[in-house]
């Protein structure tokens, strides 16, 4: 089935108040993703596609579209390489329906 979709098209429907310059999730040590984590499941399983795999093997995280589900935090159980907090009060995704 050719059902490939860009997640951005989905996220475009959502409402966000982005906390500019204060990402609530951060990769602790970028080198761990490159040299130790072979599978980089965050780049596939994040439902908002916040994690992308670069050609050089690095993982880039942009939290603007984050749905605050916690998947990346729990899925990184082999390395615990993300610092994960909820956004500051009032910021982040604002569900219209939920």
């Amino acid at each position: 089935m050719s059902t490939h979709v860009k997640v951005e098209e989905k996220l475009f429907q959502n409402r966000y108040r982005v906390d500019g310059g204060r990402p609530h999730i951060q990769i602790k040590d970028a080198e761990v993703c490159v040299s130790q984590c072979g599978t980089q499941p965050c780049t596939v399983c994040c439902p908002a596609g916040c994690y992308t795999q670069e050609n050089n093997g690095r993982v880039v995280l942009i939290t603007d579209g984050c749905l605050e589900c916690g998947t990346c935090r729990i899925i990184c159980d082999d390395f615990r390489n993300v610092t994960w907090e909820y956004p500051r009060g009032g910021y982040g995704v604002l569900f219209k329906f939920g």
Binding site: T3, P47, R73, I74, R80, G90
Partner: protein
């Protein structure tokens, strides 16, 4: 000196609202903290509301709660790539008030529930994230927020902060959640005219339908899909265990996209306008994964305590009930002027144990392990069942006895006789 409350409730979802409401009604000085812009703005559910749990808290909720449709028909579909085999149960009894189940839109429902909580006398502060618990040794004495002043104190803190249970994890009350104990669900809401919803599901007025799905849509992973009617929209979603998504490296939104393209599903959604895409974790670890839910000065309620019955797709009712139990425990102790020590708060767990919350979770305690270890329930069986139906329903001159033999031979070929018997036994034992 910072202000002190009798109780602080962290979170304004079903469990937090139930707790705060019950405490406030009893005259306690309650502060509820919510990180969203308004209660519901951070909350996501495959939203079926079971009337019973809410009725026990707010008996006349039907008067003004924002409800979408009451469910009169439940469909269970087992899907192959091109087909589904299923059962539908519809009863006019479900179409007579008082209704038993409703679809809801959480952003609206939680806001309504919260208004009731505030009317009962609790103080709600939104747009405030609790970052840590304040401790005095092992005892929780308050919370640290990201707001001015920041520190707020209370005799008891009820953690209703949702599935990630971040505060209890940070405080070391329980270890990090394991990927095998949570499902990731993604869903979309598609708007279409009310008449279209009603025509496609053969319902009228406020009646509605829920379809639960299993089979090839989860591509061999442990999980289920769902589709249900709201007033002027349909909600469709799929959820799979995080450990399976991780292992199989499947993107959740591609999974949802493929499900939407299924030939039996696509026509239902045809022409709808997608207005929101959400994702949420569901704590499905079951009985064995329930953490310690109380300690000196604290209790955990709802999703944060793993109170979800994955087998029956129940969660918000367990959340509300656990919220009430926690509040009742506080009220009883306060009445007797007893301190909120772990020893005294053990009463909360006793209440849970004696109720459907723990009884149901205990009943299915082996279910997660059985499904984790036997992916054939999500792959081979849906295929076999659909093929069997297809064969029996195709009129092609082959006699029915021969068809039955072919079907049985296929079953044995795919799973072996011992495999079939073993699977039946595993399921029976897990359900027992």
């Amino acid at each position: 000196m910072a202000e002190k409350f009798d109780a602080i409730v962290v979170g304004a979802g079903p469990s937090g609202n139930a707790a705060a409401y019950t405490l406030a009604k009893a005259g306690m000085k309650v502060l509820q903290l919510e990180r969203g812009e308004y209660p519901g703005s951070k909350n996501v559910q495959g939203a079926i509301l079971y009337a019973d749990a809410l009725e026990k808290i707010i008996p006349d909720f039907r008067d003004d709660a924002p409800l979408e449709r009451h469910i009169i028909e439940q469909r269970m579909w087992v899907l192959d790539d091109e087909s589904y085999i299923g059962t539908h149960y519809r009863s006019d009894d479900f179409n007579k008030p008082p209704y038993n189940r409703y679809t809801i839109i959480r952003a609206q429902f939680d806001k309504w529930f919260s208004e009731k909580v505030q009317e009962a006398g609790a103080m709600l502060i939104c747009e405030t994230t609790v970052s840590d618990l304040l401790m005095d040794g092992k005892r929780v004495i308050g919370v640290q927020t990201d707001r001015l002043g920041g520190e707020i104190y209370a005799d008891i803190v009820i953690l209703a902060d949702g599935v990630n249970s971040l505060l209890a994890t940070k405080a070391g009350f329980h270890p990090e959640i394991e990927p095998k104990n949570v499902a990731l669900a993604v869903k979309e809401i598609h708007f279409m005219p009310q008449e279209t919803v009603e025509a496609r599901f053969n319902v009228q007025g406020d009646a509605g339908v829920v379809i639960e799905m299993a089979g090839k849509i989860t591509q061999g992973m442990m999980g289920t899909g769902f589709l249900y009617t709201n007033k002027e929209s349909l909600t469709i979603g799929v959820g799979c265990m995080l450990s399976d998504l991780k292992k199989q490296k499947i993107s959740p939104y591609q999974l949802l996209e493929q499900m939407k393209a299924h030939p039996s599903i696509a026509p239902i959604l045809e022409g709808g306008e997608m207005k929101e895409y959400t994702a949420h974790l569901i704590p499905e670890g079951g009985y064995k994964a329930i953490p310690q839910v109380f300690g000196d000065g604290w209790m955990i309620v709802g999703d944060a305590a793993m109170f979800v019955n994955a087998m029956h797709r129940e969660g918000s009712n367990l959340a509300m009930t656990s919220g009430c139990f926690a509040a009742e425990t506080v009220i009883e102790l306060a009445d007797k002027q007893k301190p909120f020590t772990a020893k005294n708060l053990a009463r909360y767990r006793e209440k849970l144990d004696a109720s459907f919350v723990i009884k149901d979770l205990k009943k299915y305690k082996n279910m997660p392990d059985v499904f984790h270890a036997n992916s054939q329930f999500f792959t081979t069986y849906p295929e076999m069942l659909n093929q069997a139906a297809h064969k029996m329903l195709t009129v092609d001159g082959v006699d029915k006895k021969t068809k039955e033999k072919q079907i049985m031979a296929n079953f044995k070929h795919r799973r072996s006789l011992f495999g079939l018997m073993g699977d039946a036994l595993k399921l029976w034992r897990a359900f027992e």
